[in-house]
Every structure is written in C-alpha cells, then in structure tokens.
C-alpha cells in the first residue's frame, strides 16, 4: 500500500491526489522541462575551475606529437614522469577550444551535465515512475554539483551512471553485460575513476551471492565482467601502468590537494548527498521487508564515497539515486510502468533543444574565464623562455597553457613531485622558515601569487621583489 492510499476519501487531499493522478503525464512533462531548463542554466557558466587549462595544454601537446617522460617537458623539478590518464577528453577539449574558444569548453560542461542528468534518469526511471525519477535524478545532479566542473571527471560520472544501470539490469535477469568491458576501456582512456565502476560490479556480484540468487558458478561468470574490464584498462595506449595510476596519483594528492581531503559537510552538495543516503537508511529501517544485500552493498559504497573525499561526493550521489528513487516509488505509488517510446523521445528532444540553446548562451556568458589573471597573459609570454616561476598551485594549469615559455617550480600535477619537495613548496607559500632557501634553490625569478598570500608579502617586504602587474586577485612579481 502506498502513502497515497492512506488519504481519506472525499477530502480536499483526496481530490488533489485524484487530480494529480489523472495528469501524471502533464506533470512529468512540466517537471522535465523545468529540470532540463534549470540544469542548462546551472551548466552554462564561465570557466572557473583551475584544471581545464592544464588539460588544454596536454591536449595540444599530445596532438602535436608530444609524449610525457622523464624529465618532464614542462616542470624542471618533477621527480616522476607524468602519466596522461585523461588523454582523450584532453584532446577533445583542446580541439573544441581551438575552434570555439572558452565558450566551447563551457558548452562541453553544460552538455556533460545534461548527459549526466539523462544517464542518472536512465537509472532512476528503471525503478520509479517519471515524476519521481526526474526529481531524484535532478537532486542527484545537485548532490554531484561540486564535481561538475570543466574536467574529464565528468566522463567518470556519466560512465558510472551507465555502469550502475547496467549492473541493475543484471540483478534483474542475472545476465552479465559484456559490453561493459569495452566501455571500461573508453572510461579508462578518459579519467582515473574507472575503478569505481569495476567496484560496483564486484559489489553487485557478491551481493547477489549473499542474497543466494546465484551460485558459485554464476558468481564467477558475473565477476568475469569486472575482471575483464580490469584487463581492458591495461590495454589503453598508456599501457598496464594505468592500472596503478589511481594509487600513484592518490598518494601525493591525499596529503596536499583539497578535493582529496574529507568533504565539508556544511557544503550544500554534501548535505544533499548525505540526506539522500540517510533517506534510504530510514526507509529501509522503517520497512518490514529486508533489502537485498547487493543494494545494501551499494548504499554502503555510496556512504563511504560520500564521507571519504570531496571529489567522491558526486559518485556517492549518483550511486544513491536509484536507491532513493526506488524507495520513493514504494512510498508514493505501487504501480511502476516502464517509460513509453514517446516519453523517451520527448526527453531526448528536450535535451537536444537545451544543447542547442546552450550554444548562444555559452557564447554570451563564457567568453572570459573567471579566477585567472587573463590580463597578465601577454606580460607573462614576453618573459624569456625557460624562466622559472613560483606560482600559487591553482593557477599553474592556466600558467602552463597561457605562458608555455615559463617553467613553474611546482604545478597542479602534484603527483609528479617528491612529497618532501611539495612540503617545502607549501611551507614556502606560507612564508615559513624555508621560504628563502626554496626560492633561491629553485632559481625562481618571477612569481604569480594571490595578492593576500604570505609569500607575496615576504617577497615584496623582505626580498624587495617588485610588482609588475596584477589581475583577478593575483600579483605578478619579479626579482629585483
């Protein structure tokens, strides 16, 4: 019995329920329009993330025949070769930027968010009716919002939603989907979170075994999909070393990079994601029936991802989405119907219209990127080739792109540096005791720093560097 069946007959509430039930298609249509329009508006923004610039540089470098090795072609103090795990979106991004400029990248982001919304809806619609499925998909996008920047991780989110839905189908008919193997190959060529997709497969497989829905033989057959996917990861152009990349990147990033730290639970996106997970826990605790183990496994995975790192909150929201939708469906309606072809085409049509509308919108709002000192680019490019620059970590991606003539003493690819070196860099940025020695040792003669940073004050006041330009909250300093 759904909650709507408990509404007393012949009351205003009952009439409202009856009115709504007679117009579900209309309500779902309006909701779809509103959600797609809002998602488009949220998606079309000027570039404000520090990472896309690095990916543009990598895309250009790779297209021009460049290859990373040791020593690093850009960073004189790197101690390890850089592994370009995100080569495919880097190339796509560069080609788009080359043709359409910054609005092209902004459009790609909006398109990525709309595709993600559709992919999550593909999951939620499997277990819930249209209105609930659309609402939950949109809430999941809001939960993932902090991760939805102009970066290759957008591919990971989309692939995760597709993988999740596919494994959900396997739980229904117990058939392995072998096409997940080539999909994981593509995923691994785009971004480093492919491991989560494989993990979802393993959890679902063991969950089904715990539920006694499959025997040992079927379990092994199902687990062949994640196993083969893992093998496929070793066959990308990067080679088998890609299998170790998530761990080598993580070891440095965990200590020094903000998005690898625990999420701030006062951030709205984190709150939304944890509320989604909490809702499922409460619904299950209040239900008389036990949930399947594979669903419990997915919920625990979502919880761990939601609390582990700021960068994995988006993954948690995506995994929680179908679980939330299913519980809401149970609360509000007992009859679940699969979407009609007309409904599917309507959604895709609205999304296509949104993608077209996003083109002029991106042209209007995304010409000038935010948070980077674009007006200093010309000055930076005039500095002699090979000059070493000490720069705030976040701006180094843009620096590599805008002034390829310069050599940053540390850059956003934190994994290529020795941890002790990164610690010295961080201490230098805080004007700690080692700052003067670090600046001397690295031979930096130019600095690009936040105007309120301790090092900017120390260089000016104690080493008499002078300001040669400022823009967007950054100071460009030169050694006297």
């Amino acid at each position: 019995m759904s909650i709507l069946d408990t509404v007393p007959l012949n009351t205003r509430a009952a009439r409202l329920v009856s009115w709504a039930q007679a117009r579900t298609i209309l309500i779902a249509g309006f909701l779809a329009f509103g959600v797609i329009a809002t998602t488009t508006a949220l998606g079309v923004q000027a570039i404000s993330d520090p990472s896309p610039w690095l990916h543009l540089r990598i895309g250009k470098f790779l297209l021009n025949g460049g290859r990373f090795g040791y020593p690093d072609p850009w960073a004189p103090f790197a101690s390890k070769p850089y592994v370009s795990t995100e080569w495919f979106p880097a190339i796509v991004g560069y080609l788009t930027y080359d043709r359409f400029g910054a609005p092209g990248i902004a459009w790609l982001r909006a398109a990525g968010i709309l595709i993600l919304l559709t992919a999550i809806l593909w999951c939620t619609r499997r277990v819930a009716n249209g209105t609930i499925a659309i609402m939950v998909a949109f809430v999941a996008v809001l939960g993932a919002y902090d991760g939805l920047t102009e970066r290759p991780q957008m591919f990971s989110f989309i692939f995760l939603a597709i993988t999740l839905r596919t494994w959900w189908l396997t739980t229904e008919d117990l058939r392995p989907r072998w096409w997940l193997v080539p999909l994981t190959w593509v995923w691994a060529s785009c971004h480093g979170l492919w491991l989560v997709g494989i993990g979802v497969g393993v959890i679902v497989g063991f969950g089904l075994a715990c539920d006694r829905r499959i025997g040992r033989h079927e379990l092994l057959r199902i687990l062949l999909v994640p196993l083969a996917s893992l093998c496929a990861v070793g066959l990308t152009p990067i080679g088998p070393k890609l299998l170790l990349a998530p761990f080598t990147v993580g070891s440095n990033a965990r200590d020094f990079v903000g998005e690898w730290q625990s999420p701030n639970i006062r951030q709205p996106a984190t709150v939304i994601t944890l509320l989604m997970i909490g809702f499922v826990v409460v619904a299950w605790a209040r239900a008389a029936r036990k949930p399947h183990w594979w669903r419990v496994g997915l919920l625990v995975t979502s919880l761990v991802l939601g609390l582990a790192m700021a960068r994995t909150v988006a993954l948690a929201a995506i995994i929680a989405a179908p679980l939330v939708a299913q519980e809401l469906q149970g609360i509000f309606s007992t009859h679940h119907t699969q979407p009609s072809r007309r409904a599917q085409l309507s959604w895709l049509g609205l999304t296509a219209i949104a993608l077209v509308t996003a083109v002029p919108l991106a042209g209007a709002v995304a010409q000038d990127p935010k948070g980077v000192p674009v007006h200093l680019a010309a000055q930076l490019r005039q500095i002699p080739n090979g000059t070493r620059v000490i720069a705030t970590g976040d701006v180094t991606g843009w620096l590599l792109w805008s002034a390829p003539n310069l050599k940053p003493v540390e850059d956003i690819r934190v994994e290529i540096y020795d941890p002790a070196y990164v610690r010295r860099f961080i201490e230098t940025m805080a004007a700690g005791p080692a700052w003067r020695g670090f600046v001397t040792d690295t031979g930096a003669t130019v600095a690009l720093l936040k105007d309120d940073s301790p090092l900017a004050a120390a260089l000016q006041e104690r080493a008499h560097w002078h300001i040669v330009g400022s823009d967007a909250g950054y100071l460009m300093l030169r050694q006297p």
Binding site: Q261, S262, N264, I265, R266, L274, G278, V281, V282, W284, A285, R286, A287, A288, R289, K290, P291, V296, V300, L303, L307, A308, M309, A430, A431, G432, P433, W435, D451, D452, S453, P454, A456, A457, A458, Q460, E461, R462
Partner: protein, 464 residues
C-alpha cells in the same frame, strides 16, 4: 554488572581490564591549552569576581565575558590550590571513569554485560577528543545521564523530573547543556511519531526538556546564559579548529563513532521489525553531531552507545538480563578503587605540565608589568595564569573579541599583506611564538625583533 549468560568471571575480568585501560588513558600530565584560563576564572570568582560583564584581563576584548563554566572552574581551582597540578590530573582521571560509567549505564540497560562493556569502551574512545582537563568532561557525564534517562522514559513513558535540577548543575558547568535537552526533545517527538503517546502525553513528557531549558536561565549567570551557545559559536565556528566541520579521514574518533552508528543501522535494516522513530531520531542526532564539528564527535559517540549496544544485543536473540544489585555494588567499588589508586599515580606523573614552555618563564618574568605580548593563541591561557602581569593580544576565549579583530590577528600570524597593521593597533613589545612559525621569522627578519630565548618549541622575542 555481571550476568549468568556471560559467566561469572569474564565480566569481572573485562571490567578490571577496562578500568586499567581507562587509568592508562587518564593518568597524564595536564596538557590542555584551556585548563589554565579555567583556573584563572576559578580564582577570579573565589576572589569576588562577577559572573558576567566586561573582561577583567584583556584590554582588547570588546564583548562581555560570561562565566558559563564557573562550577568546575571553582572546583578545579580549589583542587589546584590544595594539591597542585596532580589534583587537576586526578579530577580528569576520575571524570573519564564517570563518563565511562555514564555510558555503561546507557549500554547495560539494553545489553548484557559483555556487549555493554565493549560498546561503552568503543564509545568512550569516540569521546577521546573531549577528554581534556576541561569543564567539557562534565557535559559528557551529564549527556550520558540524559541519554540513559531518556531511553528509560521511552520504555516506561514516565517523565524523569530529576533531569531538571541536573540540567541546572550542567548549565553551571559547561555550555553543551543544550545537547541533553535536545536528546530529550528528540525522544519525545519520536514517541509521538511512533504513536506510543498521545499529543497530551507527549506534551507532559516534553515538560522535562522545556523546564530544563527554563532552569538554565536561573543560574547565577542569569537568562543571558540561554544565548551563550550561539554567541560563542558565531566566532568560534570561523576560527577555532574544534568548531570546524569534522574531517572523517583525519579523525579516527569520528570513524569509530560512525562505525557504531552504521553497525546499528545495518542491524535495523536487516531486521524484519520496524525501527521506532525515537531510536531513528537518536541515530540521526548522533550522525549530525559527529559530522557537524570536531568538538561534537563525543556527543555523537555517547548518543550512539545505547543504540549500538542494543543492536549488538539483538545478535544474541534474547532480552538483556538486568544488572543485579551485587554487580552494581561491585562496579561502584571498582570506581572507588580506581579513584583511590589514581591519587598516587597522578601525583607521580602530573607534577609538571605538558605542552607549555615552562622553561621560558624566567625570561617572561623579566618583562615589565603591563607589557603587551604578541602570543601564539594556544599559549594564551597559560600566559594568563602564569604571567598575569603581561597582556596577551588574543586568548582562547575568542568570543570576547570582535570578528574583525580576530581576523586581523590571524592575518598577522600568517604574515599576509598588511600584517603589520595589527602590530600598530595593539603595540606589542614582546612576542611568544612557535619557533617555526612564519610570524616569528617575519618579526626577526623584517622588524629586527630580538630573540631572547627559545625552548620547548617556542621563542620569546623583544621589540628592538
């Protein structure tokens, strides 16, 4: 608190082992940054100081100082006066045992001795971040009592009126009294949602938290005490580490607490019975407390304890056997023995404080009275207590300063552009800073301050 199911000896052995573990945890030198200013407040009150009003010590304070922890401060000061630092270490040691006993009072009510002891120890470890030599310990004991009493109310639907005077004592001791009232309100609301009580009966039960709220206004501090939790948190949320959101990866204590809750939730989920709303409400309160701030992880751990113990007991597929009078007497005896044994131990290890640069005192003593000191804020309590003739630019009672002032202090400590403005405003002639800090380096390199002495990781500098 033994049961036949666990055998007669095992619970005794586990209890004694746990007590030894608590002793190991509790017998430490006094090393909490806050202890010192609490001593100062105790002394101030005993010498006729007011419960609220303009700050008596710091000329840079612009907001009134409200003494919302006066009772343990007075007790702590008297203890210090009579027996020195070991008295404070002993008070902490005994308070830890009382926190554990309070948690055990909750867990043993819903589980047999062994599961109750196991969960109580796990919860106590979850509270470890709040087990400093501070009035906060009183809050942890009181909260455990509130949780245990509310649990019993949920079972027999009888109000515990004695919680009202207890809350009065709590409100005289520490600012977390609101958490107990919150637990009471959550349980009553849950009972109403569970349809176990009518609206009228719920209103009667709600009188306990409401009356508790009312008596908070009747302490010597007056009705303004009701607003202090919000006044303190406004500034502290911005600047004080323990008021920041919990970083799960950086806090094993939060992980322990969340594991307790997650285990409970898993038990509920896999059970064919509906979980009552009042227990769900407690679990949600526990999770929110654990994740909201580092300082409220202990609150989450204590609330989680009976829930986890109940879940663990459910694995035994039987109702817990209530503790007998004999086992309760044995436990009381154990606590008494613990308190007595702790006396010589604390006297042996806690004669000297930890974490403060005692060796710099001679240099600081030589500074002229009234000298303003640019201080590392963690040392401000110690400075206030040990060197009362000096004036710190900022102390740990951040709530008595304006937001702009605290921001300016932080800007200076981080040596950000404009850092010298704060020096011009406060005119310090001495500095007591961490030797490796950027500000120590900047004062020396740029303003040519003279280092007088370095010891125990800190340096005293004098303006040239």
């Amino acid at each position: 608190m033994t049961t036949q199911r666990d055998g007669a000896r095992v619970p005794v052995v586990v209890s004694i082992t746990w007590a030894v573990a608590l002793m190991y945890l509790g017998v430490r030198p006094v090393s909490d940054d806050d202890t010192w200013w609490h001593l100062k407040v105790g002394e101030y009150l005993l010498h006729g100081g007011a419960f609220s009003g303009p700050d008596p010590w710091n000329p840079f304070a612009t907001r009134p100082f409200v003494l919302n922890q006066w009772l343990p401060e007075v007790i702590g000061f008297k203890g210090y006066e009579w027996f020195g630092l070991p008295a404070l270490a002993w008070l902490r040691c005994v308070a830890i045992m009382l926190v554990f006993t309070g948690i055990l009072w909750c867990t043993r009510h819903v589980a047999d001795t062994i599961p109750a002891l196991i969960v109580a120890l796990a919860a106590l470890i979850g509270t470890a971040g709040g087990l400093g030599v501070r009035p906060q310990l009183v809050s942890l004991i009181m909260l455990a009592v509130w949780v245990g009493a509310s649990w019993r109310t949920a079972e027999d639907l009888r109000p515990r009126w004695w919680l009202i005077p207890l809350t009065w004592v709590w409100a005289c001791s520490h600012g977390m009294w609101l958490t107990g009232i919150g637990v009471g309100a959550v349980v009553v609301a849950g009972l109403w949602l569970d349809r176990r009580v009518t609206m009228r009966a719920a209103a009667r039960l709600m009188l306990v938290p409401l009356a508790s709220l009312a008596v908070v206004a009747l302490t010597p501090v007056g009705p303004r005490l009701l607003l202090t939790p919000f006044e303190v948190s406004q500034i502290a949320t911005e600047f004080v580490f323990e008021w920041q959101p919990t970083s799960v990866r950086a806090s094993p204590l939060a992980v322990i607490t969340l594991v307790l809750i997650a285990g409970t939730a898993l038990g509920w989920i896999m059970s064919p019975q509906k979980t009552p709303w009042w227990q769900l409400g407690l679990a949600i309160t526990s999770v929110v407390s654990t994740l909201a701030m580092m300082r409220t992880i202990p609150v989450g751990a204590i609330i989680a304890a009976p829930l986890a113990a109940s879940a663990l007991q459910s694995l035994r597929h039987s109702a817990p056997q209530p503790p007998g009078r004999r086992s309760m007497r044995l436990w009381a005896l154990l606590v008494l023995a613990y308190a007595v044994i702790a006396i010589p131990l604390t006297a042996a290890v806690a004669q000297q404080p930890g974490g403060v640069p005692e060796r710099l005192r001679t240099t600081l003593d030589a500074a002229p009275a009234g000298s303003v000191v640019l201080n590392d804020h963690t040392l401000s309590g110690w400075l206030l207590w040990r060197e009362p003739q000096l004036v710190s630019v900022l102390d740990l009672r951040t709530e008595i300063f304006s937001m702009d002032y605290v921001e300016a202090y932080i800007r200076t400590s981080e040596v950000r552009p404009g850092w010298q403005d704060f020096l011009a405003q406060t005119k310090p002639t001495y500095a007591l800073l961490r030797s490796e800090s950027p500000i120590r380096l900047a004062l020396q390199e740029e303003l040519h301050w003279v280092p007088l002495q370095t010891a125990q990781g800190f340096t005293v500098l004098r303006k040239p």
